[in-house]
């Protein structure tokens, strides 16, 4: 058993069973040892009981996407084994509870019937019983997995004995069994694990000690099975001395705080609401006793109110934003148009999830690009940007507010559930060179101030409602330079054109290459074109493919309005049409359509995924091979339970 540079593990159990806590403890423990950690969580729209799992990668460098072939599958319950045994690869350790051995799909009410049928079919076709035991034997014999059966109840009884507590109370430590098994397998020292627990349960020493006691028991059991350190991680390389452990939601909140956001409005919706929670938890901006002010986080009665209140705050001069997902964004659209005609710098952070309608509220997608770009009646300028990873998301949150004020128009920052709910180790971002650009402000406006004065160009000097000595009017109607209703055709001609020209100005000022689109690698045999969280999987798939002798590049689209037409066209022109592949988490490949619309170049090869699960590195690399070498034109990805 060798030493490895990366360990991937999948830990699963019913929603509400402490999986997230277990993953947090492990993430902190590994990060403190100097490893980089990536984790992504899959869950149902459910509070307690349905199957949830977390894919974690602990490695020498930061991973940005999930990858198949976990080294460990650690199961809190029978459903986890039954759902994930087919993901085992040679050497995968399956940690499971022996008490669940005889449990089959029919005894797991939370399993969806299609999954039950598939599991039963796989097992019966190969001649194994439809049970946890059968699944483990299948994984062992057919896939080369290594079972690590543990008697969870016996472990908890030992713990109860050691702590002198009733066995029923020891049950709350259940999630520590798979956690400690993983830690033990990867050779994590107990003191490192302790640091993870101490961090998570700060000030609750009893909980820390109970968990550590159980961890010791599990470590001993894994050792007696001969597997302690079986997946030992090579010591990490030198690296930053500290990391933020952050989800995509958290990092956007941090970017907003640095970027000067002072009013966040929201209505609860998955997977956006956690961003507002993070902001609210830090509403007092205090650093070492120094007060830097506060962020008002305001929960509204609906999303219409959320964007309307954000606009109201922006009119007064506060940097204001709202965060939502597809269904909420749909409700915001009328007000978005109001912000457009009134030239209001408001930011909407849009986390895409599986649509349409309620769709798959806790799963991911990239289906809302067209909504972000085209929703709303009438023409108005808007800027639409999207982030591919946590680092981009941090800086984009600042950029979105800067552009909103510079161009006095709504900005939609598009993210997705994959990014929102994945947690990474991020070196604290530098703010060196980061500017707060408040745009054109009116110098000494007086009683005759004209909010929509276009005499100096399409951008009017801005004053704020409440500013001393000045008043202004806003209206959703077409208006004159004061902001009063005006339907005169010549006024309309001028005002509408001035608004629309702001987008042309943005196109002139924001560089296409590097800012609106980024090319990773160049030349090679093929070009992947993607956006958002496709980035992580695409970049790693390119590396995998390079190892197999296939060289390619990835064009990462960052800003969709104003679209980087010239640069994208130029990049596409150096590849034959059959070697340009759109990679998107949707059926329609909306970004590819935009490329065609803006450049006249049609993308004719597609790798698509709309199961709501993230794109895994391996499945993407294989799909690219089938297109580039096998002549396939469209690959639909399906990996992930």
């Amino acid at each position: 058993m060798g030493v490895v540079r990366e360990v991937r593990f999948l830990v699963g159990g019913p929603q509400g069973s402490g999986l997230e806590t277990a993953a947090q403890v492990l993430t902190v423990a590994y990060a403190m040892e100097g490893y980089r950690v990536y984790s992504t969580r899959e869950y149902f729209s459910n509070i307690k009981g349905r199957h949830s799992y977390i894919n974690v990668r602990v490695s020498h460098r930061q991973a940005w996407a999930p990858r198949e072939e976990p080294h460990v599958i650690a199961a809190i319950d029978a459903e986890t084994v039954l759902t994930h045994f087919r993901e085992a690869a040679p050497g995968t350790v399956i940690v499971y509870d022996t008490a669940a051995s005889k449990v089959g799909p029919d005894r797991v009410p939370s399993m969806e019937r299609e999954e039950k049928a598939r599991v039963k079919e796989t097992l019966s076709r190969a001649g194994y019983p439809a049970s946890v035991e059968g699944a483990v034997r299948y994984a062992e014999a057919e896939l080369g997995a290594r079972p690590l059966p543990l008697d969870y109840q016996a472990l908890l009884r030992s713990l109860a004995g050691e702590l002198g507590i009733p066995a029923t109370r020891a049950r709350r430590f259940l999630n520590t069994i798979p956690l400690a098994a993983i830690a033990s397998l990867t050779g994590l020292e107990l003191d490192a694990l302790r640091a993870g627990f101490e961090r998570r349960f700060r000030g609750r020493q009893g909980v820390v000690e109970g968990n550590m006691k159980l961890a010791e028991i599990v470590y001993d059991t894994v050792a007696s099975a001969g597997l302690r350190g079986a997946l030992k991680l090579e010591p990490p390389p030198e690296g930053p001395s500290e990391y933020f452990i952050v989800s995509g939601n958290d990092v956007v909140a941090m970017g907003k705080v640095a970027g000067g956001l002072r009013l966040q409005t929201y209505y609860p919706i998955t997977p956006a609401a956690d961003e507002s929670f993070t902001l609210e938890a830090h509403e007092n901006l205090e650093a070492d006793g120094e007060s830097l002010g506060g962020v008002v986080v305001f929960q509204t009665e609906d999303e219409i109110a959320a964007i309307s209140a954000a606009i109201g705050g922006a009119l007064a001069g506060a940097r204001a934003a709202t965060a939502t997902s597809g269904p909420g964004f749909d409700l915001m659209v009328e007000a978005l148009g109001w912000a457009g005609i009134n030239e209001v710098p408001v930011v909407v952070t849009l986390y895409q999830r599986g649509g349409p309608s309620t769709g798959m509220p806790t799963r991911g997608s990239q289906q809302d690009l067209a909504a972000a770009l085209f929703s709303g009646h009438g023409e108005f300028p808007r800027i639409v940007l999207s982030s591919g990873d946590h680092e981009e998301a941090f800086y984009d949150a600042i950029k979105a507010m800067n552009w909103a004020e510079r161009y006095q128009t709504p900005v939609i920052h598009v993210l997705d559930k994959f990014l929102a709910n994945s947690i990474v180790t991020l070196p604290p971002p530098s703010l060196e060179g980061v500017k707060i650009d408040r745009g054109l402000l009116a110098a000494n406006p007086g009683p005759d101030y004209r909010r929509f004065d276009k005499s100096g160009g399409p951008i009017s000097p801005r004053a704020f409602v409440g500013q001393e000595g000045v008043v202004m009017w806003y209206t959703g109607d077409e208006h004159d330079e004061y902001g009063h209703i005006d339907e005169d055709p010549v006024n309309r001609l001028r005002m509408h054109e001035a608004r629309m020209r702001k987008l042309e100005l943005a196109a002139e000022e924001i560089p296409e290459e590097g800012e609106r689109a980024i090319l990773y690698g160049d030349g090679g045999d093929f070009l992947l074109v993607g956006w958002g969280s496709v980035k992580g999987a695409a970049l790693e798939a390119l590396e995998t493919l390079r190892g197999e002798g296939l060289r390619g590049a990835y064009l990462h689209l960052r800003v969709f309005e104003p679209f980087p037409s010239g640069y994208v066209s130029e990049v596409l022109s150096s590849y034959p049409p059959g070697r340009v592949i759109a990679v998107e988490a949707s059926y329609n490949a909306m970004a590819a359509r935009l490329v065609a619309q803006h450049t006249g170049r049609r993308i004719e090869r597609f790798i698509l995924k709309w199961t709501g699960r993230p794109i895994y590195v391996g499945e993407l690399a294989r799909a690219v091979t089938r297109i580039v070498e096998g002549g396939s034109v469209r690959e639909v990805l399906t990996y992930g339970a």
């Binding site: 933020f244 650093a287 109201g312 001069g317 940097r319 500017k435 408040r438 409440g466 009017w473 209206t475």
Partner: protein, 313 residues
């Protein structure tokens, strides 16, 4: 345009001659002038419809928003600048129909703003459809058939929602309305005035003539005291207000139905959580120094220290 302390603008007022909106506009302008407020200290936020145009006729900040959404726009403005006097002008359809959810939510918060309901029982700008305050069974001249839907009671809804100043006025009694507006604007909390007004073009039932014979002032009722001076009086006073709100027909009461001076406004609740809030609200905080973020990398780390881990080895 020059600074106008009489709160008038040069914009032509395009309401129908005889419209109740004139009374509301005049009362509002006079109230603001008598309160001695500077035009930039005031924001008039409106929805859609005839009443929605009100801000354009007033020399003060004016925000003419979307149908039904005046309250949330005003809420954001007020949260960002709690020192502003924010007044919401909306029609009965705007505030009690399409925007009813926001109307209720504002009462729950007791944010320090004033809501003026232009209540004429019809949707004027779309040619006289029934509004949420038109009783069932009646047929105004604009309606092809009698109204099928019952009316909502604005006073009862306001009391139930938690508004702490609830009054009714009659648009043609400008002085009485003006005095109520002054009280409402100075009241610390969510205030609402339901303003009965004729629609001379589309509502031939609730006319000036109809109101003149029925409207009476609550002040003239012996013993009428709507003021809650201690929280223990809330239930009783609210019950009385609800009872009074049901009076409609031969006699129509105007005046203050309910006035709770004891409930904490939203801004103060917020200030208890964010101590810097009132002195340094969202719109007045410095966010940059020389173009660089006030929250620099070091401060960001300290603010979000809970997310930070240090390598042990």
């Amino acid at each position: 345009m020059v600074l106008r302390m009489d709160y008038r603008t040069d914009v032509w007022v395009d309401w129908c001659p005889g419209c109740g909106d004139y009374g509301i506009l005049t009362a509002l302008q006079k109230a603001l002038a008598e309160l001695g407020l500077k035009p930039w200290e005031v924001a008039i936020v409106s929805g859609i419809g005839c009443s929605g145009k009100t801000p354009h006729f007033i020399y003060a900040n004016g925000v003419h928003t979307l149908h039904g959404r005046a309250i949330p726009f005003a809420t954001g403005l007020k949260l960002a600048r709690p020192d502003l006097k924010v007044i919401i002008d909306g029609g009965d359809g705007d505030l009690l129909g399409i925007g009813a959810g926001h109307f209720v939510a504002l009462g729950r918060r007791n944010l320090d703003v004033t809501v003026l309901i232009h209540d004429n029982q019809v949707y004027g700008l779309t040619k006289g459809q029934a509004s949420p305050t038109l009783p069932a069974g009646v047929k105004t001249k604009a309606l092809p058939k009698p109204n099928l839907q019952d009316a909502v009671n604005p006073i009862a809804l306001a009391v139930a929602s938690g508004y702490t100043f609830v009054a009714r006025a009659y648009a043609m009694d400008v002085n009485h309305l003006k005095e109520l507006i002054k009280l409402a604007v100075n009241h610390k909390g969510s205030a609402v005035i339901d303003i009965l007004q004729p629609c001379v073009t589309y509502n031939d039932l609730y006319t000036t003539e109809w109101y003149r014979r029925r409207v009476y002032k609550l002040d003239s009722e012996p013993g009428w005291d709507p003021v809650v001076r201690d929280p223990s009086e809330r239930e009783e006073k609210a019950s009385r207000a609800l009872e009074k709100a049901r009076e409609w027909g031969d006699r129509v009461p105007v005046g203050i139905f309910y006035w709770d001076q004891t409930r904490e406004p939203f801004e103060e609740r917020l200030a208890r959580r964010i101590p810097s809030y009132l002195d340094s609200p969202p719109a007045l905080q410095p966010i940059e120094r020389g173009g660089a973020p006030v929250v620099d990398a070091e401060r960001l780390k300290r603010i979000f220290s809970g997310y930070l881990v240090r390598r042990r080895r």
